[in-house]
Amino acid sequence: MTSITVSRIRQQQIALLIADGKRLDGRGLMDYRPIQIETGIIEKAEGSARVRLGKTEVMAGVKIGIGEPFSDRPDEGVLTTNAEFVPLASPEFEAGPPGEESVELARVVDRGIRESEAIDLKKLCIVPGKKVFIVFIDIYVLNHDGNLIDASALAALAALMNTKIFKYEVKDDEVEIKPGFTKLPIKNYPIAVTFADINGKLVVDPWLDEEEVMDARLTMTFDKDGRICAIQKGEAGTLSPKQVIEAANIAKEKTEELRKLLVKD
């Protein structure tokens, strides 16, 4: 049987190594694990992607529906992001309604996409005030080995970039589906980078064992123009203001690196 509880000795080992600028799995403090991205893997979804970040595995599926706009934004499509900690991903995940961790995950990923205006929601209006496209992003965690946020943000963006919407015509306010597809209009490419603070030292892309010993977690999401579009600090530890600024500068660089996996110049 698998146990994901890290023994005390291993915890000390991890922390000691990091103090020394090393990591138990051989990575440098600012190195990501190997990343694999596949898209279009679920033909029935309008968009889909699977991201493997080391042993962490996350899928994102995009479904397009038709519904009503929010009353304060009558001419914009609607984005809704949901995350499931599928119980096959970890002995600690349970079936049932989303817990606070999966709510946080979904909201952090959503924030990056929303604030960077990654999707051109204005172009998803069908009949102003009445009918708009709804973009459902469903994040599906299949194997949890740490840093779900970065993997999920990558999977969500990859799935969006892969999304096709059926063509349609509007007749008397009714939508008629026509043959063919167009691409979901994508305007920006937000990328999240997550740090773990372990005994005062920052590392990126913590794996599960590191997450178990980390004091604080810090996620910074940058848009394609190198601007921050979302931040989330997590866990009960603290960071100094200096660390935060330091992290921002590293994250900017790292997001540029990661963005190249999805966006070719």
Binding site: I41, K63, A89, A95, N143
Partner: protein
Amino acid sequence: MPKKTKLVNSKGIRTDGRKIDELRPVKLEVGILSNADGSAYIEQGKNKILAAVYGPGEVHPRHLALPDRALLRCRYHMAPFSVQERKSPAPSRREVELSKVIREALQPAIFLERFPRTSIELFIEVLQADGGTRCAGVTVASLALADAGIPMRDLVVACAAGKADGHIVVDLNDIEDKEGEADVPVAYMPNFDAVSLLQMDGILTIEEFEQAISLALDGCRKIYALQKEALKAKYQAIKEEVEGAEEE
């Protein structure tokens, strides 16, 4: 619903090019998730389904523990993006029923009595649905249980047969399932000639039903061979890894 599609043409060929007694391509992989104690993946037509097993382990809540055997729990669940219209992640009544019949289909194969007061948790996630997900779910779950090292009397394998445009056909795809006349999913333990899941909806005469059962069991036997191959491939891979390691 107006039947729009010709399901079987005059040459006995189905919408996806299969003959009436032909299975869809089946791809099986064992041991693909690192956290689970056992896992497997199946593609059957466009079905894409993952299964994972945790256990035997502690029962939560404790009062559910059984004094004489392991508690087998099973969740069959569909990803929101697995079907045409987005599905709410909350379990539907259909998923509740299928979780039950799948659990009952697998239970007779497992030596639960060897693990009293523990639980075995089985999770089946349909990533893409294309007709026959419960059968593919049984087939892949069986492999995940084996991968977890849970001792079993036999592998359980499942396959449906049914009726489409008047023909008894095996392994219905999505459109045959929806527009066909009947669907008979069957789970089977070949070594015991034992049926552990049987359902039907649609309309069949007894004669047609007999035919359907017979076709479904043929399908089961074919997939059973693939199951065993997949397990062998897994152990071969482990063996090579170990031997490779030894040689180094």
